[in-house]
Symmetry: C2
Subunit: 178 residues, 2 copies
DNA sequence: CCGGATAATGAGTCAACACTCGACTTGCGT
DNA sequence: ACGCAAGTCGAGTGTTGACTCATTATCCGG
């Protein structure tokens, strides 16, 4: 990650294009999306993709990092319940994160990015607890577990809005009184 | 599925072996497990697997049917909370069901088997409601959604027992008072 | 505008995997 | 026993997809 010499202008442009294309492809197909498809959408030859990201996992890791950073930003602008609701609603669009958090066939280590997200959610949890919206006994791990679970459920189950609301209502009620 | 002539004795034996092997392989690797590995574990040539199950999806559908039937049986011997707890604990062992319920890359139609499971859970829900253990406003769809979600979460997240308990506690509390 | 370093290209390699098929073997009715 | 339909075998086929590398094109400091 430590660059000795800065990238050439065209290389920078292509790198950005590849990341955007990868995000779209993996959002659509999950980690199964092919590198060739990424190259096609980026308007770049396959070799170029591999020049920037030596393995497919490197590419996945890169967009994961991007998406997690965006989630952290999201978290900082909402309260706990809004954030959960928003994440579930966005689950389909973020298939990559959900699938990778689910560890489907790929193993990628992003301890930093994930712990940043945990920190952000922890802050929301403490706020909610202070406001009396969440029982004192509820801790971060189960909140993260519920977050991951419900996102996966929503993504793979293809829930409609009503089902989403009703399911979250149950969880919110559980968080309030444990 | 309607057999005109009964299977020969060796064919029956092999069919059973293949199903057992497939359950083990797909439990371990999910739907990505290879047909060759199934054949190897069944002690059978690859061609034999394809004689019994013309496509991989047919094989997956067959073991799905089996596993779902077993879940229905499970459900009939427990109450709602026990059943949820049990399913989550078993999630890892039943990777296939969880992944397929999640629709990961494979599309298989098992409307009957799934609706049987829904019927069984509906019965548990009505019992729990009658006993006052679940709020009257809670309906079947969100219970199924939570079931699927938490199983996926537990499977992919590798929860320890404590996290499992705490997560389910939140959900149970939510089901009681909505 | 030149030269060399940097990057892009895309046909090719290799491995994995679902599925086929013709040769062979075996259960079973007679 | 015999015959043959039913079943098994496993090398072969076709495809897909990650990754390579020799060649060609492009950037950029002097």
């Amino acid at each position: 990650m430590i660059e000795g010499t800065p990238l050439r202008a065209d290389a920078q442009r292509n790198r950005a294009r590849i990341l955007d294309a990868a995000e779209a492809v993996f959002a659509e197909f999950g980690p199964r999306g092919s590198t060739e498809e990424v190259a096609r959408r980026a308007g770049v030859a396959i070799g170029t993709v591999f020049r920037h990201f030596p393995t497919k996992d490197d590419l996945l890791a890169a967009i994961m990092k991007r998406l997690l950073a965006q989630l952290v930003e999201d978290a900082e602008q909402r309260d706990l319940f809004d954030f959960l609701t928003h994440m579930v609603a966005q689950a389909a669009a973020k298939k990559t994160v959900v699938d990778l958090l689910a560890g489907s066939g790929v193993d990628i280590r992003l301890p930093d990015a994930v712990s940043h997200l945990e920190d952000a959610v922890d802050r929301l949890l403490q706020q909610a607890r202070a406001a009396g919206d969440v029982a004192a006994t509820v801790r971060l791990p189960e909140v993260m577990a519920l977050l991951a679970s419900v996102c996966q459920g929503a993504l793979h189950g293809g829930w409609d809005e009503q089902l989403q609301t009703r399911t979250l209502e149950v969880i919110f009620a559980g968080l309030k009184r444990n």
